[in-house]
Each structure stands twice: as C-alpha cells, then as structure tokens.
C-alpha cells in the first residue's frame, strides 16, 4: 500500500537519505577535539574549572574560595602566600613590625603599574585599607584592628593597630591586601571589570558572564615571568562529572579529581599531585556548656562522642581515601599542631557507652543537627556512629541561604562542619573566642580565656606557637569539638602541564600551575 512506503510527500528512501545527510553534516561540523592533539598547540594557554560564577570584583565585596582565581589574577596584594605556604613580599618589597607589634611598615616595590597605566602609590594602599575597614562586607573583619594608615611618601605605608594582630600579615596576602586604584575604585565598572595592578586583565570581549572568564597576561606586570600562561580561561562547572569529562576531553588542563578516577587518567598520561590536608572535617560540639542539651556540658559525654567515630574508616571510605584521621582542629603545618593529639580518641564504642552511663545517660539522649548543603552524604555515617553509643540524631533540613543563620542561631547543639585550611589564629578566633562564628553559644572557660586573650596580642612566633599548643591541647583534652579527619585533594594535570603547589594556602591561585618540561 502506498502509505506504507511514503511519509507525507517523501518516499522512505528520501527520508532516510535526508536523515543520513543531516547526521553527516552534524558530525563534519563538529570538528574533532581530541585532548592530547589540541593541548600541544595551546601550551601557552591554560584552562581550568571553577565551581561557581564569581561574584562582584569590588575588593570590598570579594569572596574567597574559587573566586580567588579571578580576583587574585587581576589585583596585586601587598604580601603573598608562596607555593610553600610562607608569607613573602609581593607588591610590598619589605614589611617590618615595631617591637610592640602595633605598627607595621611596608615599602612598595618599584615597577608596580595599574592596568590603566597609573603607578600605584602608598596613597592608593591607604585608600584601599580605609575603604575595606569602613565598608560593611565580607572582608571588613580583616581590617578590624587597624587604627590608622599613613602614607609618609609614595612608597611607604605605615599601618597602626589598636592591638597587635597575629592574623594581619595573612590578611594582607588576601583581599585586605589588595591595592585598588583610588581614582576608579568607586566606579560601577570596578564590580565587573576593575582596574588592578595584578598579572592579568579580564578579556571582556572573550568573557561570557556565568560561563567563561578569560584572562590575558600583562607583559608590563613586574613579575610577568612567574606566570607562564599568556591566556587563562576559567570555566564555570559545578558538576564533578562534567569537570572530569572536560579534563579527559581536553577542555580543561588541570583539576582536582576523585581518587577512584585516577587509574583512567593514568592511561591518558596525566600527572598527579596530592595535597594531604586542605580542610578539616569535624563535628562541632557547639553547646558544650549544655544550654539546650544539658548532656553536652559533661566532659564524659563529649569524650564519648569523640570515641564513637572510626576515624580511619571515615578517611578511607567517606572521604574517598583522601582523609587522615585526627582529633585536633589545628592543621599539621601551622604552629599549634600537636602530633600526639591526632590519636587521642581511638574508636571505642564500648568505652563510649560506659562513659555515657557514668554520666547518667545510659539510655542516651536526643540531639538535633542541621542538614546543610554539604552534609547529606555524611549524615548516615554520623547518625549510625552516634546511634551505636545511644545518641539519637534528628537532621533538620536547612535551605542553603539559611546556613549562616542556622549556625549562629544557637538552635543546634551539634553541627557537622568543614573548616578550610586556616592558621591557628583563625581557628582560635572562630572556635574559641566568645564571639567566634563557630562558638554560637558563646562558651567561655576561665582556664582557656587568658590563653586566648594572650594569643590575640602575641606576634613573637615562638611564644605564639607555645600558646597555640596550650589552647589546642586544652580544646582536645576537654573535647570541645570532635574533629574527625583532615581531608586532602588530588590534582590531575594533562600532558604538558603540571601542578606545582605544595601548600593548601594557595589552592585558588594561578601560581600553582606551570608548563611541564
């Protein structure tokens, strides 16, 4: 029958031929993008992925994390965290503290140049520091202790502090240390395409907001030789599968990968770098004074919680082999870390149950915890480990934009939390000071308070390390929290590229990428 052989006015053969032609066109239009071949040709270029669309580029509104890839390339900071994690000169060629630690003098290097051709001076630094101090924003706290900034000559900056600040040098390597052009910093364009004195400028013609950010190296940058890539493309990719597919197919050149994928990348001659410690995975025992869950005021209960977890298994399974067991919050490469504290609480559910019984909680107790955007993967593990010693957990779902409020609201006695790599002073400030972000119940202890107060004004490195160790030891021995494991990251670099970072303090900087020999 006729209708069996035609579709509309076309014969079946015509339709099939048309479909084949269309397919052929589609395939020929899609030129091969094989990874290795195209990489050789673009060795001067680097493509990497970032997790989310960067926010405003105005220094007073900058976020840290993956946004730093973009802004740390456009702006120069006064000081720098080296690939090894040390604080070294950068736009300031030298820095010197007064004996009382209340005055910091910096000298700007010669050869600095804004992307608009103007030479940065100490007046720009003064303007930048005063602006971040007086503008409410995510970086304002970094300038909290700055009393005044003077610019006695074009190259000298004198920062006077209300009190010595052990964190200040670290802050000057980040957004607080950015030199803005005083003449243009308040312009609307600063938010999207600012004037900076950094190694790259944003190529707005090739940039697509929300998708691709293209950076072009400035040959007039004083340290251009340390940046091997003439063009750097940052591609926004939230999905880890998309990132690994992009890496395999040559769309990006270096990225973190899951350890389970390493074998498949080996076949494509990728090279690998593992950073053992980039964050610490922990259970905050926030209500350690027992305000809403009286049981947590008892040291035996807090110790029992610490003993409930098999930290080795967490490192191997939940953290995909990238976890290193620990019972302390202080990162191993920073002053304050005490090696023996890593293993203070071995996995001992039986012992934990005994401690709970001694404390009068033989039947356990109930506890409410916030289910945050990153916790669902780990919730069964936490629930099971605590259930084994009789503690019953209920998870309350929290919308992402409510995370900060949930933590600071003092509604949750325990919180599953991840601290990015931070020096001792930052850990102390957020966990152990009464106003600390991660101390929502404002718990103080007369044994700890003097140490915390002394640490806040001590800048002598040896004395500082000794105080930090005492604070750390007190916090672990008194089970103020239940740190579980340090988490690491595995980087894979395509042939022709290498990852040269050795410090987790530099995770979001282009300085960690290089051309392979």
């Amino acid at each position: 029958m006729q209708q069996n052989k035609t579709i509309g006015t076309f014969s079946r053969r015509q339709v099939v031929a048309g479909m084949l032609a269309t397919t052929a066109f589609a395939l020929t239009a899609c030129s091969p993008k094989g990874g290795a071949a195209s990489r050789v040709a673009k060795k001067q270029d680097l493509s990497i992925s970032i997790m989310q669309q960067p926010g405003s580029l105005d220094p007073v509104a900058l976020s840290e994390g993956s946004d730093s890839f973009l802004w740390s390339s456009i702006y120069d900071t006064l000081l720098l965290t080296s690939a090894e994690g040390k604080i070294v000169p950068n736009a300031a060629k030298s820095f010197d503290y007064s004996k009382d630690g209340k005055t910091l003098t910096l000298t700007l290097r010669e050869g600095l140049l804004f992307s608009n051709g103007k030479v940065p001076t100490s007046k720009d630094v003064k303007f930048s520091l005063e602006r971040i101090k007086t503008t409410p924003g995510p970086g304002q706290f970094q300038a909290l202790n700055i009393a005044s900034v003077d610019a006695p000559d074009d190259a000298t900056v004198v920062i006077k502090l209300t009190t010595p600040d052990p964190n200040l040098l670290r802050y000057l390597t980040a957004r607080c240390g950015i030199i803005s052009d005083a003449a243009t910093a308040r312009d609307a364009s600063t938010k999207l395409n600012p004037v900076g004195s950094g190694p790259y400028t944003l190529d707005t013609a090739k940039t697509t907001a929300g998708a691709t950010y293209v950076l072009k190296r400035r040959d007039d940058y004083w340290g251009a030789a340390t940046f091997p890539f003439a063009n750097v493309t940052l591609k926004v990719m939230a999905d880890t599968t998309a990132v690994e597919n992009a890496l395999r197919s040559g769309q990006i050149d270096v990225s973190t990968i899951a350890p389970t994928s390493q074998e498949s990348f080996k076949k494509q001659n990728f090279t690998f770098t593992k950073l053992d410690v980039t964050s610490v995975f922990q259970l905050l025992i926030a209500d350690r004074a027992g305000t809403i869950q009286p049981a947590l005021a008892d040291l035996r209960v807090r110790k029992a919680i610490n003993m409930a977890f098999d930290r080795d298994a967490i490192g191997k399974s939940a953290l995909a082999g990238l976890g290193t067991p620990t019972s302390q919050l202080f990162f191993p490469f920073f002053p304050g870390s005490v090696k023996k504290l890593d293993s203070l609480y071995p996995h001992d559910p039986e012992g934990a149950r005994k401690l709970l019984a001694e404390a009068g909680y033989a039947n356990g107790f109930d506890v409410k915890m916030p289910s945050l955007v990153y916790t669902p993967t780990f919730e069964p593990l936490i629930t099971q480990a605590l259930a084994d010693i009789g503690i019953r957990v209920t998870w309350n779902p929290i919308p992402p934009q409510e995370t900060s409020k949930a933590i600071t609201s003092a509604s949750y006695p325990m919180i599953l939390w991840v601290d990015g790599v931070s020096p001792g002073a930052t850990i102390i400030n957020s966990h152990f000071t009464p106003k600390g972000y991660l101390n929502p119940f404002h718990v103080e202890d007369p044994r700890l308070a003097p140490l915390v107060a002394e640490s806040a004004i001590t800048i002598d490195p040896d004395r500082q390390a000794a105080i930090y160790e005492k604070i750390n030891t007190f916090a672990v021995e008194n089970a103020w929290d239940a740190p579980l494991a340090f988490n690491g990251q595995l980087f894979a670099a395509a042939p022709g590229y290498k990852y040269v970072g050795t410090s987790p303090m530099n995770l979001s900087s282009l300085r960690v990428f290089a051309v392979a020999a």
Binding site: Q2, P32, S249, Q401, S404
Partner: protein
C-alpha cells in the same frame, strides 16, 4: 480571537503581578539570612544591620516592592546582589542558552513523536506494540544516564563533540551545533516519548470516527485521510502536551545544564535561589511567568487554528 488574546494577556499581567509579589513576600523572610550568608564569618549584628540599610532591606516591604515594580515598569530589573550583572541582560543571556537546547529538542521531539504516533495508530498490531515499546524505553531511561553515556562515547573516546560548554550561534554556528548535539539528543528522547503517546492515542480515537469511515468509502487514499484529516483533528490534545512538554523541558534543563556545564536558565535560577540573589530571583519570576503564559496562550490559539470546533474564543 483578538479580544480573547487581549483578555488572556491582561489576565497574564495580573497573574505576573501577583506572582512577583508572592515571591517578594516569601523572600522577605530570608532578607537577614541572605545578608548574613553574604557576610560569612564577618557577620555580626552590627554589620548585618549596616548591609540591610545599604541594600534598603530595612524599609517597609510595600515600599521595597513598589520601588522594584516602578523600576521594572521603566525597564530596569536591577543588578545581581552578588555579581553586579544587570538582571535583564543576565536573564536573556541564560534564556538564549536554554532555548538553544530546548527549541531544537522540542522540534525533534515533535517530528519524531508525530511519525511514531501516526505509525503506531495507523498500523496497529505488531507495529503498534513495537512502537509502544520504544516509547516506554524513552519514558523510563534516565536522561542523565543517556547523557553520561553519550559524553563518554562521542566526547571523551571519539573526541567528535565537546564534553561540556556552550558556543553561541552568532560566534560559530558549527561549534554551536557541536555544543548542543548531545544535550538536544538527551532532551529529545523523553520529550518524543511523551508527545508520541498522546499523538498515538488521539489518532486512534480519530481513526475510529464516522467521518474517517465515510472518507474511506469515498475512495480517499489512506495517506490523505491520516495526514489531512485525522492528524489535524487529533492535533489539539497533542498540542496541549507539546506546550506542557516545552515547560517541562525548561524545568529538566537544569540537570542537562549541570552535566554539560551550560550557562542556562535552569542553572542560573538554581544558583540564584541557593544564594538568595533577590533581584535575579525577581527577574526570573517575571520572565518565567510571562513565558508560561505566552506558551499556554499560543497553544490555545494553535489548537483553535487547527480545529475550529475546539476554539475557546
């Protein structure tokens, strides 16, 4: 028809107004949390209060909404709280990406659905069963799985297509085609199965009607009966499913956009909701509502044009 269209547009505008007010009212419960999240560890009661004043969140709700509405009526949707991008430009840019995937997927879905549906209804028997089997597979195979499989084969192993990303048509039509081939294929599979089931059912109903028997007795070729009469009359329900499918594809585009790192409407909406970017969420509410109203109106007009008996105007 004109008065019907104008009436629907008027109702649509009122609906948009109501939708945006509800959205703004719901968001107002999170103003403090949004500011607090934005400040992160720097959030103190003082800094939160200062930023609330800076952003105007300390004013009465109706004043804030009224100001937003006034600005929108003057073509100003504001700027993103986080990226400082103008909202209208950002929404249109993302809309363009998603439409680049959804429209071709919808066209391919519809064409293949009509072919499958008509084939199944007119042949019946084994052909119908085989076609229904194909539709079932299309319904139940997860799009995400198909997406990953296609990427592994065509992007990673063969290197014919990019694994991720989007190239605008205006920049390079060839690369644009390459960047949408896999996402369009994935979206088309589920879409075709949904529409084909509807076309098949409607066609079976039509082919059983008396006028078809009359046409057959008058010697009209079967091909002509199916394509000129039955298909046209059965297009109404299919068009309704088509409009619903269009909106559903917009919803499911989020997953496709995540897997292929496409900077589209779905990802933009999702991320903006996550961080509480109020001006962007408000802009998305306006465009989303207007798009839904427009698609439904076009579907009603289309149904009436195809079948005057089904006109609702």
């Amino acid at each position: 028809m004109l008065s019907f269209a104008l009436r629907r547009i008027g109702v649509g505008l009122v609906l948009t107004l109501v939708m945006t007010f509800i959205t703004f009212w719901l968001l107002s419960f999170s103003f403090e949390s949004i500011v607090s999240s934005r400040l992160g560890q720097a959030a103190t009661p003082e800094s939160i209060a200062a930023v609330k004043v800076q952003l105007g969140f300390d004013r009465p709700l109706m004043v804030q909404y009224g100001e937003w509405l006034w600005n929108v009526l003057h073509g100003d949707f504001g700027v993103s709280l986080f990226t400082q991008e103008p909202v209208s430009g950002a929404v249109f840019a993302r809309l363009g990406v998603t439409l680049s995937v959804v429209l071709p997927a919808l066209i391919i879905s519809t064409l293949s659905a009509v072919v499958l549906g008509v084939f199944a209804a007119s042949r019946a028997g084994a052909a119908d069963k085989i076609t229904q089997g194909i539709m079932l597979v299309g319904h139940f195979v997860p799009g995400l799985l198909v997406a990953i499989a296609l990427v592994v084969v065509f992007a990673v192993n063969l290197g014919w297509l990019p694994a991720t990303g989007f190239t605008p048509f205006s920049e390079d039509p060839g690369l644009w085609l390459a960047s949408v081939v896999i996402p369009v294929t994935v979206l088309s599979i589920g879409g075709a199965a949904n529409i084909a089931s509807q076309v098949r059912g409607s066609m079976i109903d039509e082919l059983r009607k008396d006028y078809v028997r009359t046409l057959r007795t008058r010697g009209i070729p079967t091909n002509s009966i199916i394509l000129r009469h039955a298909l046209r009359n059965s297009a109404g329900p299919a068009l309704t499913v088509f409009s619903l499918e269009f909106l559903a594809m917009f919803g499911s585009a989020l997953i496709i956009e995540q897997v292929f790192a496409l900077p589209g409407f779905g990802t933009f909406s999702f991320n903006s909701a996550l961080i509480g970017d109020i001006p962007v969420i408000m802009g998305l509410a306006v465009f989303g509502t207007l798009m839904t109203i427009t698609v439904n109106l076009l579907a009603d007009l289309g149904i009436g044009w195809l079948n005057p008996k089904a006109r609702v105007y």
